[in-house]
Structure formats: C-alpha cells, structure tokens
C-alpha cells in the first residue's frame, strides 16, 4: 500500500498553499488550482504531504491509501 493526496475539487478554492508546501507533487494551473501528480507519494515526502493536508484552509485535501499496482 502506498499513499496519495486526494482532493475535494468542490471545496478547493485555489489558495495554493498546498503547492508551496509540496511542490514535488503539486503544481498550480493557469488559474491557481492544483495539479496533483498521479503517482504515490515517495516515502521521504510523506511528512511534507501531511503538512500540506493540514495547512489547506478549506480542508480540501486528505491522504488516501492506494494499492501500488493502481
């Protein structure tokens, strides 16, 4: 099992804090909304990811478990 960042697109209002805290996995599009890499989070970034999840002002992010095969 690996972990990924999942986003609630309806909640997200493009604050962009997540991209600042986890630039390895999250970039922003032309309108400031996050583009999340589909790959599992590398172990060394898990803590950063957790911090980004906690920092989102509208609680749009969470960690999800994915099977590595997926």
């Amino acid at each position: 099992m690996a972990e990924q960042v999942a986003i609630d697109r309806i909640r997200c209002d493009g604050h962009g804090i997540c991209a600042e805290l986890l630039p390895e996995m999250i970039s922003l599009d032309d309108w400031g909304y996050p583009i999340i890499k589909p790959s599992p989070i590398p172990l060394r970034l898990i803590e950063h990811a957790q911090r980004a999840v906690e920092a989102c002002p509208v609680l749009a992010l969470r960690m999800t478990r994915v099977s590595k095969a997926a």
Binding site: R9, C12, D29, Y33
Partner: protein
C-alpha cells in the same frame, strides 16, 4: 422485436407489460454479460458489471434510477423511446430492480421533455406490478449537468442538481444513502429485450446536420455510417466532419467516418466512442472552428460552477475558441488551447471537464488546418465570404 418501429414516426404505444417471461435475475445478468451490453447514457460502461456490483452492495435495499434526463442538446433518442415505448423502459427497470434486488425505482425524466414525462406517467399508471406502483417519477431540471449520475442522486435527495464529490459513487451510496443503480433508459429497454431473447443488438442513433431527415433511428451494430445516412434520407450537402457521441464525444473527419463501422469496439480502437449515439454531420460549407466554439461556449455555460478547473478552465477555453472563430485571436490562443485541452481531465468533481476537453482535442486534430488559419485571421471554409485581412494580404502581395 426492436426498440422503435423504425424511423422517426411514433408507433402505437403498447398498453401494458411488453416483456413477459424470459430471463430474470442472475440468468439475465449472465446474458447481458455474454451480449456485452454497454450503457447508452454516454460512458459505455458494461451493464452486467454494474448490476452485479449494486446487487452485492445493496443487501436487498438498493434503488434503481432510470436516467431519462437527456440533457445532451443533439440527442433525441431517450425522449423518443420514452414516448414510443414507455412500457419497455418500465419492463427494463423492473427487471433491473429484480436482478439487483432493489426495493425502489425512480424514473428521472427531463422536465423539458413534456411528451416523455406524460407518456411515462401514463404508462406507470397502467401497470399493476407492485414495484411499478411503488415507482416514482421525478422531473429532472433542464441543463446538461442534471443527468450526470451524482447530480441526479443529489437532486432527488436534496433538490440540488449539482454533482457531488465521489467517492462514494451512487452504486456505493446514492438515493437515501442506499446503493443505487443509475442506468440510462435505453440501456434498460435493451436489457428488457435481451431478457425476452428478442434483441438483435440494435441501438438508437440521433442524426442531424447535413442529412435530409434529422431524427432518431434504430440500427444494428456494425453498420456503416452510410446506413444511418440512408435512413435519414441521404445527404443534403457534402460533409466535412461528423460529431460522434455528442458534446461528450469527438469530431471525426469525413474520410475517417466513411471507413468506420459504428460499434463500440471498432470505434474505441480509433479513440472514438458511440457515447449516447449522436451523429451530427457538419456540412462542408460550415466552419469547424465556429462549430467547436459554439459547443465550447455551451459547455462552459453549463458548468455547475463548483470546481475551479471547470469554471475557469472551460471558461478560458470557450473565450479563446470564440476569439479564434471570430478571427480575432490573441497571439497565443491556439497554443493555449492545445495546452489547456490536456490540462483539465480528471480535475472536476464530475467528468464534465473531461468530456469538454476530449471534444476540444478532437477538434484541434480534425480541424487542425482551420485552427491555424483562424489564428492567422483567415477562414478556409468561408473564404467565399468577405475576409478583409486576406483581401488586404493579396492586395499588397
């Protein structure tokens, strides 16, 4: 037996149950799997697989939601089916409810399709089965998004026809929190015909554009597009491209279309989909950039305005495509469209951005020369019309 009497002319509606006896329950699910019946609402998902999942999740308290919203602007087949064969749709819903062990059935019918709403209401009143008497008809609000499955569930649960975040998908948690089978009305009618052993695998198509008689036609799978054109009275004009599958589908060039067969597998192999069976024939003297701009404006306007990438991304795409169509683009419009067309899929709560950008990508391919010309403020198909920049360019050459 087929779904329609053939052609756009209404048959005499039946007065009661059409499918009596035949396959039910798991045997029917196995038959639908063997026949590889795919959903006709747009996404083409295997019907048998969905029934199995809902049955497994449902524990006898699942719900069947027959989707007759038909928000797709170029489609007429669902409302035609509901008007001509309401009992067949009901038969399909009853068989589905039996197979997935659902205790409730809801018919979700587009409120603008008045004839379909009354035909379904009348037919329901004529039925004596308990499940049919318990069934409800809910009128779906107008609009493209109302027919999306989570929007339908949300509307019925809470009066709000905007999609919700998934998971949970409706087959996990839908109407009143119960596992819900959302199935297009044509898929249900086809399942009923499979149960009776009567379906020869036909599907409904809505044709419009350069054909002489726009309308809904029923055809066997594997037919060539010429067969559809023949039924529709032939071509009134030359065709340059065909929109296959509606606003959720793709453009295909005329040369490509005439070499196709209209079944899901061969279409899929070409990166196309039958979607909801729409075939729009773009006349040779119409501009593909302009046609695409109209569709993009419509789709951007239909966004449920909940998700940033959909609201702003589709909005920006519609504006840039419109500028190109008007031959008044900004310097980077075409390059931006190409980039944005790959940027939005999977980034909305529902698949609206995926459908819209899929259509845009096909347009950028099929009308590639036209888009380049428009970026240079020219139009290939409308060169007969006054085009001042071209006249000017030739005058100074």
């Amino acid at each position: 037996m087929s779904m329609l009497s053939g052609g756009p002319h209404p048959a005499l509606p039946q007065r009661g149950r059409e499918i009596d006896g035949g396959l039910r329950g798991d045997a029917l699910v196995r038959e639908l799997e063997r026949a590889n019946l795919l959903g006709r609402g747009g996404a083409g998902f295997p019907v048998a697989r969905k029934w199995r999942t809902v049955k497994a999740n449902g524990n006898g308290r699942a719900v069947v939601l027959a989707n007759g919203a038909e928000g797709e602007p170029l489609s007429r087949k669902d409302r035609t089916l509901m008007v001509e064969r309401p009992h067949l749709v009901i038969d399909g819903a009853l068989l589905a409810a039996d197979a997935v062990r659902a205790s409730d059935i809801i018919f979700y019918v587009g409120n603008e399709h008045r004839a379909a709403v009354s035909a379904m209401r009348r037919a329901l009143a004529e039925r004596h089965e308990r499940a049919a008497q318990r069934a409800r008809l809910v009128e779906a609000p107008a609009g493209y998004i109302s027919g999306e499955e989570s929007a339908a569930v949300h509307y019925i649960n809470a009066g709000d026809a905007r999609p919700t975040v998934t998971p949970p998908r409706p087959f996990e948690r839908g109407i009143d929190g119960r596992p819900t089978l959302v199935q297009n009305v044509e898929s249900l009618a086809a399942a009923a015909l499979h149960a009776s052993g009567a379906l020869n695998g036909t599907a409904l198509f809505t044709t419009s554009g350069a054909v002489r008689r726009s309308g809904v036609y029923e055809l066997p799978p594997d037919v060539a597009p010429e067969a559809v054109v023949d039924l529709a009275g032939g071509l009134a004009k030359d065709v340059q491209a065909v929109l296959i599958g509606g606003y959720f589908g793709s453009w295909a060039s005329a040369e490509e279309v005439w070499s196709l067969t209209l079944d899901s597998n061969s279409l899929r192999a070409r990166g196309l989909t039958l979607g909801c069976g729409v075939l729009y024939f773009l006349p040779a003297d119409s501009c593909g950039v302009d046609a695409t701009a109209r569709i993009m404006s419509y789709l951007a306007g239909q966004s449920a305005r909940q998700c940033g990438p959909c609201v702003f991304g589709l909005g920006a795409i519609a504006t840039a495509t419109r500028r190109l169509a008007e031959r008044a683009p900004q310097a980077e419009d075409l390059a931006r469209l190409a980039r944005w067309s790959g940027l939005l899929a999977g980034r909305g709560a529902c698949k609206h951005p995926d459908g819209a950008t899929g259509l845009l990508r096909s347009a950028l391919e099929v009308f590639a020369d036209d888009f380049v010309a428009h970026q240079q403020r020219r139009c290939i198909t409308r060169r007969a019309l006054p085009d001042h920049s071209r006249v000017l360019a030739e005058a100074v050459a």
